[in-house]
Amino acid sequence: MHGRLKVKTSEEQAEAKRLEREQKLKLYQSATQTVFQKRQAGELDESVLELTSQILGANPDFATLWNCRREVLQRLEAQKSPEELAALVKTELGFLESCLRVNPKSYGTWHHRCWLLGRLPEPNWARELELCARFLEVDERNFHCWDYRRFVAAQAAVPPAEELAFTDSLITRNFSNYSSWHYRSCLLPQLHPQPDSGPQGRLPEDVLLKELELVQNAFFTDPNDQSAWFYHRWLLGRADPQDALRCLHVSRDEACLTVSFSRPVLVGPRTETLLLMVDESPLAVEWRTPDGRNWPGHVWLCDLPATSLNDQLPHHTFRVIWTAGNAQKECVLLKGHQEGWCRDSATDEQLFRCELSVEKSTVLQSELESCKELQELEPENKWCLLTIILLMRALDPLLYEKETLQYFQTLKAVDPMRAAYLDDLRSKFLLENSLLKMEYAEVRVLHLGHKDLTVLCHLEQLLLVTHLDLSHNRLRALPPALAALRCLEVLQANDNAIESLDGVTNLPRLQELSLCNNRLQQPMVLQPLASCPRLVLLNLQGNPLCQAVGTSEYLAELLPLVNSILV
């Protein structure tokens, strides 16, 4: 109670405050001016430190002044004795802390502290950790401070176990903390490194189970808090799949070799990223993408010289080496055969489960059960519903197909804002399921009709498909990636909302194309079809362009080889 002075009345206070502000503004402006003049004149001495500290003390977000300070400090480093420098650094650290108190989320201040600590011969990291702890005590979600803490912990080589315990303590206080959960996802793989052969970045089962329990506590307590669900997703997710060549296809007719990659790549001209060995001797070829744009993509192809395809040998072997991805694949073209290929199986490789991990299904199963329990209590929680869908996919996409679709329906009802995203996700899952079914049936025909698809994905997986039915969906375009379907002969896409046909280009074997009842407005959009040499049947009935004057003439000119155009 002692030492507390009597406060003035509010009018007196207000007047005093106004005068003080006026005074402050004057000082601020004159100091800023002086600093800029001195900087221009190259007078980078301690007076600049003093002046900038006056301004930055009040407004730490003045980036130019921090730069000024760095210039001064760099210059002084060369001039001063070690003792003088130490004193200077001490003042600077104290000053930085006072700035952080003014604004604990100032980018410039934290950055300057990083810079300063990085230059010190013997930085006191323990003190820095303590500083972080104090600032996180005040605001445990201050991500600037979290960033700085990670920097300090890395520099000071703090054992990950200690940092993990620190995240524990903050999550205990308030689990709505993305930074804290995120830090865990960085620390845990460090604490529990997997054997070299295992998937990198994943956790051993006992650790995983403990983390799952922790995060379940969070989402049962507050299922609307996103941070816990994101961490949950990370726990059940798996690292990026290893680079691989998924499929290799050689066609004698088109004298062409096509490669499908596990991720989009850019194969530049005359680079070493992709090597082709024909019958064990290297062959220099020009790589391009099927749509001819040569943008990063999953599928690249090259023309083969006649010598590589002649019938003199009983067979030719084609080996593609992806140097960057450290992967290769080989396929054989037998004498008398039109084509040859080698392909990864989507079922064996569980290509479509990459959303969630390949952890023991018991773990996933029990997660599914808890989520369903939560869903009963919170039937409208979107995070819970989405997680259930993802878990079901990870467990068995075909078995749970029907149930998944029901959950999608509920989810769309409770989260109408993301209806389009959900439609796309659902399309993706349905397409994946159809692909799996096609593979089980060992055919090259893919039926995707009547599935309410809104988007086409995984097209790079359809390299070998000859017949594709996309009718009765909600597609608005046939995207460029469709050009990867090098074997496609018949394409049916009736009764959609298609407006553009960018993907129906350079399809060497396409003979029949049916696009009835779509939204093709201008004959111009049919331009890409001209690059499909074997197209003989084109059905455009029920499109707006049929009404346009001169469509037939335009088409006859554009597609002279097409026998039958139904308008």
Binding site: M1, H2, G3, R4, K6, V7, K90, L93, G94, E97, S98, R101, R127, E130, L131, R134, E137, V138, D139, E140, R141, T172, R173, N174, F175, S176, Q216, N217, A218, F220, T221, D222, P223, S370, E373, L374, L377, E378
Partner: protein, 595 residues
């Protein structure tokens, strides 16, 4: 000093309890000339806190129960023809049934004379004060360590618009340190090593290793470490008093600590009640599904008014019946009923229960994970803080200054002056009198309730955890119908209310019988007497009693003004403490009176 008192004021306030002090501060702050007197030698009246020796003197005063019959009839002569006098009482009748028990053994080699009156180790009423009161006038504000301790400041950091629901805002942590960040001088001199310490420093030699036995003479010796409240209350962190403290800036005179945990007593066991979002998340005793049920119910309570369909059908039944209709396990029902709504099976209906629950939740997270604050150095600090505010703005204070009578003008039926103990007549426009100052003539028709109180000094916490510095509140429901729930507040030494190694425990309930009869059953359930010699069995579960005090206090709250006989309209009555947990009653009185 009293001879020099001015003879005219705008407001005269008699009694320095919390409501009187708040009003005195308000009047003084708005420019009125205020005289504030108290016949006692200390501030606060029945709201006061005492050091150990202070409480012993207080005890002596109330046990001896002597009438101070040195009535000076001189004042009668001052009453003029056209005047009447309302005589004020000079004897405090608000405290009854005082009983003291000492269980701590006295050290035979030290201070034998001090402990001489004690019958060792057996429940015995102390009939004599074992020590001469050290300070004749008890002035808690003398404590010098008061300013060095910085714990929790009453500065609200987050604008409340950010707070969607109180369940989500437990990131609001207001520490003394954040306060320091605002402090310019502190900032400039901040060398990095000097991080301010959050723990109040207690100088002195009280650092006893835990196993050491605590003796009575130690308690006496460390008596100044104690600040024993006569009333046991907490501040709801969004209650009226907090608002008032902030608005009036009186908060800067005091420091507060957040209550650290809410406890429940169930099936003979003390357990922690998860009530905040963080508690629920961390709780090991709740199942996942229970966590969801509890959070869901509490979230609903936060804005129950918006969902009348959820409770409309249950308005007629009790809150406990209503809870049974909700998706809550018996475990959770108990927590909500007794520890969160803090009501009983029969006491409240659905709406009252929902309201109480909402109020509890609304207060969560403002300053920490529980809804309550406790003022360091005891509840008795609060009236003093308001008195200080009053004094800073010119109010005049006289302790040990009694008023003999109010002088009423016969014609206007208004009070015009007081006559004090020296016979001085002091004129004023308004008069504010605390209930206990009125004589029996004035109060003959007033029906008072009683509060049963007990204060215990114990050697360990009722629920042991990693930290021994916990501040806990526990509600023990009444066992039979008609008995009242007992509120237990356990204070640790860092609240600056007891010596290190001890806990100060306050029990409070509405009286049905004497304090001891009302409270002893609960004391016996939770505690055990301090053993004469250390038993081998160190793992005794219950905390042990070193010292216990029981007394009844008159509850003059809720007394209608009309029940007092012949009060002039410019005489306002302030009530003494009520039995409730919060202080809203005191603040409401101020609002009513000032308006």
């Amino acid at each position: 000093m009293a001879d020099n008192l001015p003879s005219e004021f705008d407001v005269i306030v008699i009694g320095t309890g919390l409501p009187e002090s708040i009003i005195a501060a308000a009047c003084s702050r708005s420019g009125q000339r205020v005289l504030h007197v108290d016949s006692r030698s200390y501030y606060g009246g029945n709201w006061a806190s005492f050091s150990f020796s202070g409480i012993l003197s207080w005890l002596k005063e109330h046990q001896e129960n002597r009438d101070i019959v040195n009535e000076d009839p001189a004042w009668h002569e001052q009453i003029l023809e056209n005047e009447e006098a309302i005589a004020l009482s000079r004897k405090d009748k608000t405290i009854q049934h005082v009983e003291v028990f000492c269980y701590a053994s006295r050290d035979l080699h030290e201070e034998v004379e001090e402990a001489g009156a004690l019958q060792k180790n057996h429940a015995s009423v102390i009939s004599e004060n074992p020590t001469e009161a050290v300070h004749s006038a008890y002035l808690p504000s003398e404590d010098e360590s008061l300013c060095t301790a910085s714990c929790e400041m009453l500065t609200e950091q987050t604008p409340s618009s950010d707070l969607e629901t109180a369940l989500e805002i437990n990131n609001v942590k207001v520490t003394g340190e954040t306060k320091k960040h605002d402090d310019k001088t502190c900032m400039k001199s901040a060398s990095e090593e000097e991080t301010s310490k959050n723990v109040p420093t207690t100088e002195g030699t009280a650092l006893q290793p835990k196993k050491t036995r605590i003796t009575y003479s130690q308690i006496i010796k460390e008596g100044r470490r104690f600040n024993i409240d006569l009333v046991s209350k907490l501040l709801y962190s969004r209650g009226l008093l907090i608002d008032l403290l902030i608005k009036s800036n009186v908060s800067r005179y005091a420091e507060f600590k957040n209550i650290t945990r809410i406890l429940a007593f169930r099936e003979g066991r003390v357990e922690q009640v998860p009530c905040s979002r963080a508690d629920v998340f961390n709780s090991k005793q709740l199942t996942m599904v229970e966590k969801r049920m509890l959070m869901k119910f509490l979230t609903f309570c936060m804005e129950y008014e918006k969902h009348p369909e959820e409770y409309k059908a249950y308005e007629e039944i009790t809150f406990s019946e209503y809870l049974k209709t909700q998706k809550l396990t018996p475990n959770l029902q108990y927590f909500v009923l007794h520890s969160i709504a803090m009501t009983s099976e029969t006491a409240s209906n659905t709406i009252d229960g929902l309201k109480a629950t909402k109020n509890f939740l609304h207060c969560l997270g403002r300053y920490g994970n529980t809804p309550f604050l406790f003022p360091l150095y005891g509840q008795g600090e609060l009236p003093q803080c308001f008195c200080r505010m009053c004094a800073v703005f010119g109010g005049i204070y006289c302790l040990r200054h009694s008023v003999q009578c109010l002088v009423v003008d016969k014609e206007s039926r208004k009070c015009k002056a007081i006559i004090d103990q020296f016979g001085q007549r002091i004129i004023s426009k308004h008069f504010l009198v605390e209930d206990s100052y009125f004589s029996e003539n004035t109060c003959s028709h007033v029906q008072y309730r009683q509060i049963s109180r007990s204060v215990l000094i114990t050697d360990r916490s009722i629920l042991k955890t990693d930290s021994d510095q916990q501040i806990s509140i526990l509600t023990v429901p009444g066992e039979e119908p008609g008995t009242f729930a007992v509120r237990v507040i356990e204070l640790c030494s860092s609240t600056m209310t007891c010596m290190k190694g001890t806990y100060l425990v306050h029990l409070t309930c509405t009286s049905s019988k004497t304090a001891r009869e009302d409270l002893e059953p609960v004391v016996q359930k939770l505690f055990t007497p301090y053993p004469e010699t250390e038993t081998e069995n160190e793992e005794v579960e219950k905390p042990r009693l070193l010292w216990a005090l029981y007394f009844n206090m008159r509850d003059s709250s809720d007394v209608s003004r009309n029940s007092y006989n012949d009060l002039p309209s410019n005489v306002y009555v302030c009530s003494g403490p009520d039995s409730g947990l919060g202080n809203d009653n005191a603040v409401k009185q101020q609002k009513k009176t000032v308006n």
